[in-house]
Structure formats: C-alpha cells, structure tokens
C-alpha cells in the first residue's frame, strides 16, 4: 500500500466530501498525510489530489459505519465533523480506517492517540453546546426572538432540538457570528441558513425594561461576602460575556450617568488635592 508521505487530499469541505476521501483511500490503496478543505490558500506548487464528492460513495461509507463498527462510532464521526479541531478531517479519517479494521472495539481504545483526540474534540463541542443552552440571550423584536452567539465549534445543529422544544410554536433565530449561519425556526420548522452579517433594529421599551430588570436581579443575587471572580470565570469564561445581557453596559443609560457622576467626583477630588499641595508648598516656602 502506498503510504504517501506527501499525499494530500483536497475536498469540498462537506461531510459527504470527507466520506468520499475515505472511499478514495480504500479504492486507491493509499493513505493521505493531510486532508484539507478548499478554503486553504492554494499555491501554484499545489500537488494535492482533488476528491470529487459523490453522494453514492459517501452513503456507502457512512452506512457501513454502524454495520462494521458501531452506531456510537457513527455518532462520534458525525459530531467530530462539527468540531473546531484543526485536523478533524485527518482524525476522522484515521479513526474510520482503524475502526473498519478492528470493529466496534475501537470505541473502547481510549488510550489510542486518534480515538482519544477525537473524543476530546467532541467533548469540547458537546460541552460548549451545553453551555450555550444556558448562556444564549434572546431579545424580543415584535413576535420574533433573536439571539447572537460566537461559538468556537459548529454548535447550531446540537442546539436545534432543545430550543425548538422550548419555544414550541414560536418564531426564533439564533445567529452564529463565527460561522455566518443562522438557525431559523418558524411554523414548527427549523432550518440552517447561511447569512452574511446581521443588523438588529433598536429595542423597544418593553425589551429595555426586562433587560434592566434582569441586570438588577443578576447584580442582587450575588452575595458580597462570597465574591469569587475566578470561580465565575472558570464556569463562565469571558468569551461568552460579549453576547450576554447582564454584561452589556453600552445601552445602559443609568450606568453612564453613574460613571459621569463618578468622573466628576474624581476630578473634583484631584482639584482638591492640587489645591492642598499648593497650600502646603506655600507654607513650606514661608
């Protein structure tokens, strides 16, 4: 078998495309050292082998996973493709190669480099999506609920079922800023749609009122004597804060007023201090 040390596969970036890479590798009896999506920069010295996507081939590979490995393995591969792991293609590829060789036992090889890394990447994905179930903040615009997220992984497919169940019969949209995709749910149907950029209208007074109430609740519930910023940051890293109502101070007029008052006070204090100094100098001078 050709164990190509410099063989590179290029595919169209879809899950089906990746399955075709696996097919190609078996058909040509070769093992690529890299599988890359088309978004990477191409050079004139590009020697990579383009793998055409063929849904029949993809189905053959995909459908054989539960038969020859296990349905858990199929789930792992499916989720693995949604992760932000840099080498996810190669990981999935290698996992499938060893899976087809060993069978269902591959899922218990937790100390194997490939299996371990793939499961770790999937854990990152699932834990991030679980966090977003809580940290997503919707705003009400007319009848629709709109939320913006900036996840590392492609979490929208994992969030769909939870939020469709939660807002059964309503209209909502979750916009994934990182991947420029939106999950849109209306008339009891959910779909993923590519969107370039999103500008939200101004919020109305009811929305502003509930935001303010929530901020007030958030600030009141913390017990001063137990303040523990490190613990909070571990459980809710700062990258989530951008899109959360309780940390949004821009629209908060009250906060601004307080800040202005504080600055004025600080300036006044400074003036006091300087006058103090001058008097002292005068005394010393005398």
């Amino acid at each position: 078998m050709l164990d190509g040390t410099d063989l590179v596969y290029a595919y169209d970036g879809t899950f089906e495309g990746l399955m075709c890479c696996v097919f190609e590798s078996y058909e040509c009896k070769e093992i690529p050292c890299l599988i890359r999506p088309p978004s990477d920069q191409q050079t004139i010295f590009d020697t990579s082998k383009w793998i055409e996507t063929d849904s029949q081939k993809a189905d053959r590979v995909y459908n054989s996973i539960p038969v020859r490995i296990s349905s858990e393995a199929q789930e792992l591969v499916k989720l693995g493709f949604l992760t932000c792991e840099e080498n996810k293609e190669l990981l999935i590829f290698r996992f499938l190669r060893s899976g087809f060789k060993i069978g269902g036992k591959v899922m218990t090889m937790l100390t194997d480099e490939v299996v371990c890394s793939l499961q770790k990447a999937v854990r990152h994905l699932t834990s991030e999506s679980h966090k977003f179930k809580g940290f997503i903040r919707f705003s009400v615009f007319g009848e629709a609920l709109v939320a913006v997220i900036e996840p590392k992984n492609y979490v929208l497919p994992l969030l769909s079922a939870h939020f469709c169940d939660r807002y059964n019969g309503e209209k909502f949209m979750i916009y994934d800023k990182t991947h420029s995709v939106a999950l849109i749910y209306q008339s009891n149907r959910a779909e993923l749609i590519d969107i370039e950029g999103l500008t939200l209208p101004n919020v109305d007074s009811t929305e502003a009122k509930y935001r303010q109430l929530w901020k007030q609740f958030y600030n009141t519930i913390a017990i001063e004597g137990r303040t523990n910023p490190r613990c909070r940051m571990t459980l809710m890293p700062k990258r989530y804060w951008n899109q959360m109502t309780e940390f949004d101070n821009k629209s908060d007029l009250f906060q601004i007023q307080v800040q202005v008052a504080e600055t004025k006070q600080a300036i006044a204090n400074d003036i006091d201090k300087t006058t103090d100094k001058t008097t002292r100098y005068q005394i010393q001078g005398d």
Binding site: T111, Y218, I221, I223
Partner: protein, 399 residues
C-alpha cells in the same frame, strides 16, 4: 411554552461563582416568624413588599422567553399564617401553569406548618419541592428558630416523600396520572451558625438521602446578617472551606459509595480543612493502598484520590484492551498529582516518584489552604492536623 431538561442548565453565574438557573424570589418578605439568623424576621425593621400572582407570572414568562432563566424558584415569608401563604403561592403557580401555559421548571418551598392538602396541591404544580431544615439539631432550632420545630419540618418532608412514592406506582397504573414533584425534593442546612459538628451534619444528610429519598441536600455557609448574642459575631467570615468540604463529602456519599461513618466519627467530628475528605480517608486507610490499576475493582478505583467517577469508568473500559501505564492514565483524565501515591501500574509505582514528607503533604493539600486568609479559619476550628511524620509513616511504610 417551555420544557425542562434532565441535566440542569445554568443560565449564568453570579459574581460569587454560583449558578443562576432559576428566578429565585420571595412571594413576600413579610414574615410572622422570628428566626434569629434571618433578615426578614418579624422583629427586624426592614421595608416589606409582596408580589401579586399576576406580576410574578408576567416576570417569569418574560425572563423565560429571553432565555435568562430555566424556571422559577418560589419561596415566601409567612404572611398571616402558613395556610394563607401556601394558598397565595398556589394561586401564583396555577396562573403560571394554567393561564400562561408555562411548562418550564418550578421549584417551590413548602411552608412549614401548612396543611397537608395544600402541600399536595403545591406538589402537583411544581417540579421540585423543598423544606429547609436550616439547623441540624433540635436544640439549635429551639434556640434560634423558636417558631419552627423538628416535627414541623420533618412531617411535610415525610409527606412529600410518601406522595412521591405513591405517585410512582400511580404513574405505572394510570398513564394520565398527574405527576407529583417529578424532580424530587431537596433541603438546605446552615453551616457555622451553631456549634453543630460536621459529623452531625453529615450523618443527618445521609439519613435524609436514605430515609426520605431526597435528591439533594444543600449546605450554606452562615453569613451574619443579624446581631444577636446567640449568633456568631457580625464580622465573622463565612466558613466557606468548611462548606466546600461538606459538599465534597456529599458527593462521596452520593456517587462514590462512601458512608458517613467512614469519613467522620465521634473522635474526629470535623473535616480536615487542609486535605479533602477523600484524601483524608485514604491517608487513614493506607493499608488498602496502593491499588493495582489493571486489576482493582470499580468500587476501589472510585476510592483512589485523583480518580473520579468518569475516569474510573474510562479505566474500566480502556483496560479491556490491554494493560494501562501512567502515560495512558494521564490521557484518561486521572489527576496523577494526587493519585500517584496510591496506585501501581503493572506492579510498579510511578517512575521518579520520591515520597518525602514535605512534597507529599504539599501536593495533597489543596492550593486554597495555602492562602493566608484560610489559615485564620483553621485556628478558629482547631482541626486535628495530620503531622508530616504521620504522612511519611503512612506512605513509606506501604509503598
């Protein structure tokens, strides 16, 4: 509208690092009870307010729609009398469930002293119910919460637990039987307001899990809000480390197969603040260690410091494919820093491991203890300190 997820969802974390998942409010802070430790006690001069059922429902629904919260946590001061209070709460919950069609999570506090018929009605509207025990002994209750008695707390708790049992059989018999407190009941204990020992608290906790089938027992470090000669001084720091140790022990009871009497006894009634309860147990039972990772039973793996529920499960799975060494343990998520002193892989201890008194005690001690502020807490409670010699004796004697 709404659903309730099986695994809890935290919607935010407050500045003190605690999870916010429910809108936690009092129906009213008017109260006829006079519990010494409480800010809403009758004798305290504080502004009083109350929600109308409609206001409360409107607030809950609007927070819920914006995904701020997972549901409502409704408690209340006792207004007029316990029955009247319970009726007010039932009104609010009925509005929320039947008029607003809210299917999210509701946690409601049972009011001590309310009629069992009212408690039952509350239970049919809520997902979880709880009654706070607050103080772990009858004497402490008599002293600090004269309007409550052990009986007035345990009776409704028993009632709820029997109802849950009955409901379980009903649900099997009749498909459409309404669900009574499907998420179980919980309670809370205050730690550090009275001289009750950890041993007493933990034994009580274990009893509550076994006898009343409670889902959770929560501990709350006492934070002084009231001046009273019967209570710790107002500037007392909350015993946070002690609360943490109790939670660790609580996990050991619920997920690790430990029993309260293994962790504490009459001679050592309080937890060691420097090492966690599991390490402490291991150090006192060095005759059971080291364990061979490739042969030890699941129960024994769970008792090794540095191995948790998940890594124990992973070890069981992974070792079917061949024997494990220290590098593979690291991949499985075992905390070798602690586990190294208690395990062997293929009959060998970890390479390069030097067991000296200093390094051992330093690695086994929690980082937090090293902060100077916690050393003061130590002196307050006068913990039995494991001497360095003792640790060395334990460790070198065995490995």
């Amino acid at each position: 509208m709404g659903n309730a997820a099986k695994a809890g969802i935290c919607h935010s974390f407050s500045a003190d690092g605690r999870c916010i998942s429910l809108l936690k409010v009092l129906m009213t802070n008017v109260c006829v009870f006079d519990c010494k430790y409480c800010i809403n006690r009758e004798s305290n001069d504080t502004p009083r307010a109350a929600f109308t059922p409609h206001e409360l429902a409107e607030l809950t629904i609007n927070f819920y729609r914006r995904n701020y919260i997972e549901g409502l946590f409704l408690s209340s001061g006792v207004i007029k009398n316990p029955n009247y209070t319970a009726e007010q709460m039932i009104k609010a919950l009925e509005l929320l469930r039947n008029v607003y069609h809210f299917n999210g999570y509701i946690h409601v506090k049972a009011i001590p002293g309310a009629d069992s018929e009212l408690i039952t009605r509350l239970g049919l509207l809520a997902d979880r119910m709880s009654i706070n025990i607050e103080l772990p002994s009858q004497e402490s209750l008599r002293l600090l919460a004269p309007s409550k008695s052990k009986e007035s707390i345990l009776r409704p708790m028993g009632l709820i637990s029997t109802k849950i049992q009955e409901n379980r059989t009903d649900l099997v018999k009749y498909r459409h039987a309404s669900r009574f407190v499907p998420a179980g009941q919980s309670t809370q204990l205050i730690v550090g307001a009275t001289p009750d020992t950890d041993h007493k608290i933990l034994t009580l906790t274990e009893g509550l899990y076994k006898k009343y089938g409670l889902k959770r027992v929560f501990f709350s470090a006492y934070m002084p809000v009231a001046e009273n000669s019967l209570l710790p001084a107002i500037d007392t720091k909350p015993p946070l480390i002690r609360e943490h140790r109790l939670y660790q022990a609580d996990w050991l009871l619920r997920f690790y197969g430990f029993e309260a009497k293994e962790l504490l006894d009459e001679q050592n009634p309080n937890f060691n603040l420097q090492v966690d309860p599991k390490c402490n147990w291991a150090l006192n039972n060095m005759d059971k260690f080291p364990v061979e990772i490739n042969r030890a039973s699941h129960e024994m793996l769970l008792r090794v410091p540095g191995i948790g529920v998940i890594s124990a499960q992973r070890i069981m799975t992974a070792r079917r494919n061949g024997s494990l060494d220290f590098t593979s343990l690291k991949k499985l998520g075992v905390v070798l820093k602690r586990a190294q002193y208690f395990i062997t892989c293929q009959g060998k201890i970890m390479e390069g491991l030097k067991i000296t008194s200093d390094s051992t005690i330093r690695t086994l001690m929690s980082d937090r203890y090293k902060l100077p502020s916690y050393q003061e807490q130590l002196r307050l409670f006068e913990e039995p300190f494991i001497s360095r010699e003792e640790v060395q004796e334990c460790l070198t004697g065995q490995i």
